[in-house]
Symmetry: C2
Subunit: 397 residues, 2 copies
């Protein structure tokens, strides 16, 4: 008999994917250039030439087995060695290659991380606004997602709210900085306070607490926002990374799980991750892709277009009366809607061919997300639609 | 707290991987050319030039998003279209692209297939000898693996034994033809009888039974063994395929799940597979690899070395007194050991630098597996070790 659990999920498809499908259909009607699809976080900047050159170079210069053969249980050793060295140099860590486990993107890393540090029935706590896929990730790992709100004025952690939500059933806290959907970047002060909070709760509850850090936007930082590496602050940290955004290669499905060796049993954790793969059919990313991504782990695509888009939208939307926390990274912003029901706000926007994602999906019902990973020229052309939308629908008396 | 389930699995590492590690250590001692490592089913023949050319061609000729962008939920549409057409032409099927779901190898396909057609606590039935990873695959999907023996004289299905083992808690039957470890290929007669058996049991039990067909060796057939495509025989068949062996690219992690449209709800099944991916962090294979493998789906690597190795070993080992079912495909054979305890037999063989896998791993304790995916020259050189081993350890009076 077909699984009732997964059949039951069919009715609840991702809101973002539905909006994206609507945008696609509308584009076929009136031309893609006339639909301002801010729904999908799909990187738009070109892949670095060096990455493609690296893939081709590996194919041309290495024996078949070295590029098309099975990887070791934790992933290709050369790839793990390069990435460990890069993280150690950039963030002052002490990773050894066996502290890393190569995965198919951050989704693969999170699937392993959640199963590593929970037993069925445990709670995993995250902070709203949060990436909506956290709910199926957590629930299909057999756990419950517990949500606490961030500070609305800057989307840093609200420690009073966290104190109220935290409870002994929580085994892991799942954070995402730079944050999808808000673009907020946790400060060193926020991370210090979080580490202190977790340490206190460990003592109070008498059990370990793990920090699962989802970091696909790690390198997309604007202005001089300092890179803050969560694992530096807390020993029991599982860093979940993806090269999807840094190298603009989401289709290559490549990332890793990095276990802070200060936790004291990082090699046990990565070996356990390999056991988890046996059950979920993950079995590592493509060897060729592991090697090419690792060879490029110190470079990124050119993110300047994301910064230009942020500046343009922030200025114009603020002038139109939106209240927006200034994004310090990613390619998202998360303004407050112009009415309390952001779903209704986003429905109205569709009539102006502005495709926006209502905030209830992210756990904050009166905000909405703009994904501005597109050509700046198109963002600029969207401004007229924004003006018409706001002036028509929300004109003051 | 670290997961007790996965920590508990660390003590029970794969026997095959342990033997392979021993072979590696021994190779460093006495030279790889002197260790006859028949333990690992790791394809050894070259990747077709056309495959590498296809990867490079895609990188050079297509826009970034078309090769490095996200795939659709079921996988790249062009890839699914090509593969459906190939299966329809080769096996007389009626697949549409949406009946296929692209996966990271057969392991990914099986992880989805098992979750698609079971509820936690169900039984999944397989036939010994069987691929040892079926046990973690099934158990970590929340089910129990039930095993019934094959006919010992030809490794076809023993329908009397199957009748005795079958019970109403079984929801899926998992087969593997061509078979790892025996090299047996199910005949059309076997498949007809199995389909009839499943149909009868569906009526008797009053619930659906699904056939999960694991087919990574589908194209490795010797002599004129006819290709028998299980899904042709039974409507509720989930075919799990990998390009690992057909194109000799195990590291590329690429395969698919093909749902027989005759089951009546194949599009529901593939959409459910996409939901399963959300939970297990699978999220599709690399787009580039999907497209390249699909473009090469009608070709294979040159398998003649596997046939030569089979012929050589079959002749010499038979002459040495082994009883062996003649393999009709794969790169394995599964002889009866020269003593009832095949584990002891394999331990003795290690003294002659013959690395063999005892059959208890595959559910048949008095047999052992030879993986002969290596250069024929090395197989030929191994024969002297075989002779010394057998004559020294098992000389008649």
């Amino acid at each position: 008999m077909l699984s009732q659990k997964y059949r039951g999920m069919l009715g609840k498809a991702s809101v973002i994917m539905e909006l994206s499908a609507f945008a696609g259909a509308r584009a076929r009607e009136i031309g893609a250039e006339n639909v301002f699809d801010f729904s999908l976080g799909n990187p738009s900047v070109p892949v670095p030439q060096a990455y493609n050159a690296c893939v081709s170079g590996l194919l041309n210069s290495e024996p078949c087995r070295a590029v098309h053969g099975y990887s070791q249980g934790l992933g290709n050793l050369e790839a793990r060695t390069r990435i460990a060295a890069s993280l150690n140099r950039r963030y002052g860590m002490n990773y050894e290659p066996d502290d890393l486990f190569m995965t198919a993107g951050a989704a693969g890393a999170l699937a392993h991380a959640l199963r590593l540090v929970t037993q069925p029935g445990d709670e995993v706590l995250t902070i709203a606004p949060y990436f909506p896929e956290y709910r199926p990730y957590v629930e299909l790992a057999g756990c419950t997602l517990t949500v606490t709100p961030a500070c609305p004025d800057n989307f840093q952690i609200d420690f009073d709210a966290l104190e109220r939500t935290m409870n002994p059933r929580v085994q892991a806290v799942l954070i995402n900085t730079p944050n999808n959907p808000s673009g907020a970047v946790y400060s060193a002060r926020t991370m210090e306070r979080l580490a202190h909070f977790l340490g206190e709760k460990e003592r109070q509850y008498g059990h370990e607490l793990w920090l699962i850090s989802d970091e696909p936007y790690r390198e997309i930082l604007f202005d001089d926002t300092p890179p803050v590496y969560p694992s530096r602050f807390y020993p029991r940290t599982l860093s979940c990374y993806s090269f999807s955004k840094s190298l603009s290669i989401p289709g290559d499905r490549i990332g890793y799980l990095a276990v802070n060796p200060a936790c004291g049993e990082s090699k046990t954790v990565t070996r356990m991750a390999a056991q988890i793969s046996r059950g979920i059919g993950h079995d590592s990313a493509a060897t060729l892709v592991q090697r090419a991504a690792a060879a490029c782990c110190d470079m990124t695509a050119d993110f300047s277009v994301y910064r230009r888009n942020r500046d343009l939208l922030l200025k114009e939307l603020t002038a139109l009366g939106f209240s927006i926390v200034r994004p310090e990274g990613t390619f998202y912003m998360f303004p407050r809607a112009l009415e309390d029901d952001a779903a209704e706000f986003c429905r109205k926007a569709m009539a102006y061919d502005l495709i926006l994602v209502p905030g209830d999906t992210f756990g904050v019902a009166d905000h909405f997300r703009i994904a501005y990973c597109m050509e700046t020229e198109k963002v600029a052309r969207s401004l007229e639609a924004w003006r018409r939308f706001v002036r028509t629908e929300y004109a003051q008396g």
